[in-house]
Amino acid sequence: MSIKVQHFTKTYGAQTAVNDISFSINEGEIVGFLGPNGAGKSTTMKTITGYLAVQKGIVEVCGINVAENAKLSKQKIGYLPEANPLYVDMYVREYIQFIANLHGLKNIKSKTENIIETIGIGTEAHKKISQLSKGYKQRVGLAAALIHEPEVLILDEPTSGLDPNQIIEIRNVIKTLSANKTVLFSSHILQEVEAICDRVIIIHKGNIVANDTIQQLQKTDNKQQIITVTFIENVDLKKLQSLPHVLEITQTNNTYTIKTNSADALRKVIVQFSIEHNLNISSLQNQQNSLEAVFRELTTG
């Protein structure tokens, strides 16, 4: 187990930020950590990285209790904080060497050159950090998080504020570099989480409301299912509305998006309907609930 959180609670004064949560992440897993702002995900991540005290519960990284041996657990973690704070007056190479020094590494020069090459910032390494684009600054942050070859990588909104090209670049860098590492990844871009993560933990008001694979969440967590059917001919909307299992229907040209309480039953009904009315179906498919829909359902109200 790379990360283990058991009955963790954190309060700020009278306010409970995280309320008795438990989860674990296996070695090599990439897990998305989602939740609305203020849900408690940053507090949880900060506690795992060791700079917020564990008030109640147990937090372990690679089997090391964070509260008991923070220094050792920090050696196992590479952390890219939200907003990626950097010493902008330093040069890129100088900064990475400084971070390597903090970790007490040996062969700092060669390790720095390696990570610079791996992250793809060789052309910028001689520049001051303040002169870099946001995408390159993010790469520098990643280089600093990875210089000591950590087993666990914690990324707090790593693509926040980047343009679409930079997002794709950073996403690819993360994908490449996270091989053989355990990654806890927080983001508000749900498509990104879908693209990168094996599993998703959703936290809301300090409680974990979902902890499953994305496919499983999409299957189970929406009460309503959606079917999209396209006919070659135009069909009377009222006739479709009168079919059994149809809850709600919207039309775009000859395509009908139907909300239902039973997708399997409705599919049979639609096929029967097309035969009876001599209609040609060009496509008929179940529309999977997006992660966004799942997220909204679990975190609103």
Partner: protein
């Protein structure tokens, strides 16, 4: 450790506010030197009004490099705490503001070590500031005004005194005075660092330090017996100007100054002890609170 300290000093060197102190000291010293070069005799005449009839001296020789340094220190060492607070007050809060405190604390560096290094860096800055002040106020003044015996005008109780220290007996006193000033200013650095632990921006601890120094200085100057007895001995501001003690030369039965002596070494030693206790108290509190603080910035 050395790497962290290097970076800390590097960060201090990169901040424009660091150089405000050097510019302010240079400007004040140069103004003093210009004014005394142009019309220093008037100042000496004014000082001699009380004792002029009984004390014979060559007024032109009275204004020399040693004398200038003493006058400048009298003024500057009261203002310098503000300049020290500019840097020490920013040590933790400035990093909290930039978010880099979080970055550092997620690395395997202990909080005690981190705040210790910040304190050492602040002390080093204070010492560099004092060395710069010595260069400007002492050595530059010696180059401009030359060297002679040092005359000190002192008010002791109800009487005015003029103390004369032979030029050969002066330099060690300045070394000691600057050393004392370094300890006194380290108290300010420790206080500013302590306040910096509680803030997420630099302005608060800097202003708070200055306010505390001003308030305590005012109390230190209130001459009411109950305050004299119960409060003043515990205020660090009562000892900030203790460096003057090194220049209060002891005299023999014939009122002749004794070379290499001080009137009251015990008082200076006591003052140093109290200042060091304040440093320990402020720094100890800073470490305690920083170790137990949730970093939310």
């Amino acid at each position: 450790m050395w790497s962290l300290l290097q970076i800390e000093l590097f960060k201090i060197s990169k901040r424009p506010r660091t150089y405000i102190a050097f510019a302010a000291i240079a400007a004040i010293v140069l103004i003093f030197q210009f004014a005394f070069k142009a019309d220093g005799i008037s100042y000496v005449n004014l000082m001699l009004q009380g004792a002029g009839d009984t004390f014979e001296l060559d007024k032109s020789k009275a204004i020399n490099g040693y004398f200038m340094c003493y006058i400048i220190l009298n003024t500057l060492l009261i203002q310098i705490p503000i300049l020290v607070a500019l840097v020490a007050g920013d040590a933790i809060s400035g990093e909290a503001n930039m978010g880099t405190l979080r970055l550092i604390l997620t690395k395997p560096v202990s909080r005690t070590k981190l705040i210790g290094i910040k304190f050492i860096a602040s002390v080093m800055y204070t010492i560099v500031l004092l060395i710069f002040m010595a260069m400007m106020a002492l050595f530059l003044s010696m180059a401009i005004f030359g060297v002679d015996d040092l005359l000190i005008f002192r008010v002791k109780g109800d009487e005015s005194q003029i103390l004369q220290i032979a030029q050969i007996d002066v330099m060690w006193r300045y070394v000691a005075a600057f050393g004392y000033a370094a300890v006194a200013l380290t108290v300010i650095a420790a206080l500013a660092l302590l306040l910096s632990v509680f803030a997420d921006n630099s302005i608060g601890p800097i202003i708070a330090t200055v306010c505390i120094v001003i308030a305590c200085t005012i109390v230190s100057n209130i001459n009411v017996p109950i305050i004299d007895k119960n409060i003043k001995p515990w205020l660090f501001t009562s000892y900030l100007v203790g460096w003057k003690g090194f220049f209060y030369i002891a005299v023999d039965a014939d009122n002749v100054p004794i070379p290499g002596s001080m009137e009251n070494w015990g008082a200076i030693r006591n003052s140093l002890g109290i200042l060091l206790a304040h440093i320990g108290l402020f720094f100890g509190a800073a470490v305690f609170f920083f170790r137990n603080k949730d970093i939310l910035s």
